[in-house]
């Protein structure tokens, strides 16, 4: 029962954070809410016996990615988002219902397909299992990610180099 309670606590936090990300006008608060969601998700991961991922998740997302977000928001000194001007105000009335339908579709599947199966105790989430898998069977994908990271590095450096004179 404790587990279920924990699940719900984390779930509510995650959803709350998610809603705040979407509705809060100040991007800083959005970012902070996202961090809340990410922490809550880490809790869910632990409930799923994915300990390694949970730790990496905190380190990578909360520790690196979100810091980068906050850094950029502050660097650019982005102020509170004003109300959307006429052109796109209607998007709320389109986006929200569509997302609701999407949720019904995806949620229906989950609800229908996996009701009677429960989280079980396993060791697939341990550092040992993952480490072994990563460096034996999944060594190639692991290596590909190194290219991916080089690409990201080169790209980020190139795009944020000092700008040249503006040519139109």
């Amino acid at each position: 029962m404790l587990q279920l309670t924990l699940f719900y606590i984390f779930a509510v936090l995650a959803v709350l954070g998610g809603i705040m990300v979407v509705v809060h006008r100040n991007p800083i608060y959005s970012a902070l809410s996202l961090i809340l969601t990410l922490f809550a998700l880490a809790g869910e991961y632990i409930l799923l016996m994915a300990h390694f991922i949970a730790i990496v998740h905190i380190a990578v997302y909360a520790g690196a990615i979100m810091v980068l977000f906050l850094f950029v928001i502050m660097l650019l000194n982005i102020r509170i988002e004003e109300r959307a001007p006429g052109a796109l105000r209607y998007m709320v009335y389109i986006g929200v219902p569509m997302a609701a339908i999407l949720f019904l579709q995806l949620g229906y599947l989950a609800f229908k397909g996996f009701q009677e199966v429960y989280v079980k105790n396993t060791d697939v989430g341990t550092v040992e299992r993952i480490g072994q898998a990563l460096f034996s069977k999944y060594v190639l994908p692991f290596e590909i990610t190194s290219i991916l990271l080089v690409v990201a590095m080169v790209g980020a450096v190139y795009l944020s180099k000092r700008k040249l004179e503006i040519v139109e």
């Binding site: 779930a11 979407v22 969601t37 799923l48 997302y61 977000f69 569509m98 997302a99 429960y118």
Partner: protein, 102 residues
């Protein structure tokens, strides 16, 4: 003790995914849109882990690991693009960035 049904995680995942979709469709700030996308990716990660547990299979965990790497790379490049555009146009609002259309 039966524990938590897998479906719970999947439904949570669907909720977060849909929230992310809302964010992308209604927000104007490119950074917030991007954060919403991160929300979607995390929702997917939750699904992967739920399935990994259900199947007792390590592949899902590895996949999540890869998704995280990709997300990190995307963040680096995405924020660099946003910074570059801000330098040039003094805005990160996507509805100001619509020179290309029709």
């Amino acid at each position: 003790m039966q524990g938590i049904p897998i479906s719970h995680f999947l439904v949570l995942s669907a909720i977060l995914f849909s929230l992310g979709v809302i964010g992308v469709t209604i927000r104007r700030n490119a950074i917030v849109i991007f954060m919403s996308i991160e929300l979607m990716l995390n929702a997917v990660n939750l699904s992967f882990l739920a399935f990994s547990n259900y199947l007792n299979n390590v592949e899902g965990q590895i996949f999540v690991f890869m998704v995280m790497v990709v997300a990190a790379a995307e963040v680096a490049v995405g924020l660099a693009i946003i910074v570059a555009i801000f330098r040039l146009r003094e805005t990160v609002h996507v509805d100001d960035i619509k020179l290309l259309k029709w």
